[in-house]
Subunit: 357 residues, 2 copies
Amino acid sequence: MENIRVELGDRSYDILIGNSILEIIGEKLKTFNFSPKLALISNELVFSLYGDIVSESIKKAGFDLLTVIIPDGEEYKNIETLQYIYNELLKYKLDRKSALVALGGGVVGDITGFAASTYMRGISYIQIPTTLLAQVDSSVGGKTGIDHKLGKNMIGAFWQPKLVLIDTKTLNTLEKRQFLAGLAEVIKYGVIWDSELFQFIEVNKEKILGLDYNPLNYIIKRSCQIKAEIVSKDERETGLRAILNYGHTIGHAIETVTKYTRYLHGEAISIGMCLEAELAQLLNITEPSEVKKIKELIQFCGLPYCLPEDIDRTEIISSMYLDKKAIAGKLKFVLPEKIGKVRIERNIPGEILKKLL
Amino acid sequence: MENIRVELGDRSYDILIGNSILEIIGEKLKTFNFSPKLALISNELVFSLYGDIVSESIKKAGFDLLTVIIPDGEEYKNIETLQYIYNELLKYKLDRKSALVALGGGVVGDITGFAASTYMRGISYIQIPTTLLAQVDSSVGGKTGIDHKLGKNMIGAFWQPKLVLIDTKTLNTLEKRQFLAGLAEVIKYGVIWDSELFQFIEVNKEKILGLDYNPLNYIIKRSCQIKAEIVSKDERETGLRAILNYGHTIGHAIETVTKYTRYLHGEAISIGMCLEAELAQLLNITEPSEVKKIKELIQFCGLPYCLPEDIDRTEIISSMYLDKKAIAGKLKFVLPEKIGKVRIERNIPGEILKKLL
């Protein structure tokens, strides 16, 4: 089992990565000073696969466990589902020293983290991410939240988990499309931070797509290490952390305009990464050969790499201006200089954007 | 103008107290690094009295100001009003560097602070409290939140303002009943921390009730100093800060059981303070003479001091067990040893509580 420490002073925590480690959760929870009442938040599908093993482990450790099942899908990451969670927690009388355990993908993790950050002004939570995307990205770093009809993750909080437990075995039951969407974020880490990771994926791409345990374990571990390092340096995204948003300025806009129904998050940011690499090329920030490598790897992994004709370009642009990353009406783009290194640009002329799209 | 500093590391801020100082708000806002778009949150009554002077000052300082008027009353401190605020902020495209200005009493301040803590994962806010209760209590210390049908302030966050601006002139337009409810919290500071403040109120009670500027200014300043000192030592209520809840264990239960319609917060905690002082006497923690002084001062100020017969005692008790302060099924009481000094008690036998009520 690998142990990666996210260093954040008194909010530091461990990410445990291993194969078939779900059953240790109960013992791990006992090492904290929680009250006896905990809640497990999950969705129907994930709970049917892993609910028993996790619940039994927690109950065996002596906890009294409430289970809250929420509907699956980004469209339910909203204030209504949040209210449902609050109601259940209050009915079951969870107290200030209770903790929530999120078992599932990004939706479950984000909304559970946000519920924890606001229930009785903040209680503890644990992440057990079961999708590749959640394992390498959303479960680490404390960004929690819900969507609003005017934009993704518009309401939320920075609230760090007490522990992240990643069981790579859960990827065996993950839909292929979901797996690939997670791989998009791994490719992102290669582009923004680590050219070796990028090359590793290029070399081992068939094995990774075949769920070969060793390369898979390596890319998850490396992604978590990179994210932990960036988040430790800039928890609240006042500077460096923004580089994690490579592909996201355009990607979020695509998700908003297509109402979260057409693309998975990782698919939308795949298109975003390709377009933002092209933008870097248009601005002479990067070499065409680097852009080509990025697009080819994304394409090889079966991820979308261009914006379909039927998506309204004007809507994409106006949606970008409402993004949280837009400050005082200026868009922020993370642009690759070369694979492994990015820079942040704020002054992109509107004409260049129109040309790009 | 008085300036009290709340020391909280990088979350430190000033409380400015003075007479007729509303018009300086614009200049003060300019000293921060906010984006040009700000929002003023208020209710109809307060906005009709002070909205113009505050808005003009802010606009004159060069800001683009959205005004959001929310309905008045604790029954609107809920998730629906919060959603209305989110919608307005998003429609007006407030960004991560925008700030919210709360102009009003505790409801406006609490919900504005909570909206600020969760909008785009946290933006800045400023408190301009216009009731005595908000000036001496809720605007200082960063407790924000909304109510839930199963309990008061169940959903919320610790989120510190960037500035608190207290204009004592606003008390001239405050309803007498509201003023007295605020005075209850001032009496509380005397009991928990400062016997001199308690005596000062005893000696100057007629002047204070007559809104005489000098004693009023003193008790507001002293209350803010005490709260600032306690909050600086224990921001997240892991220990000391809990003493601010004297009168609140029973007080909150009274508010919940009477559905926030019968008593103002300060009235409910007045009953709570009297009953909790009696509880201290029952437990031989305090002298009967001290309990008598507390009850007499509360009574003199025209505040309620006993629990009416028609309120169901069983409901009061079961409501206390759902309070945020109840951990693992144990109630927490702040009990006076003498005026100026309290202790926290966790193991109160159920029979004593029944006897008390």
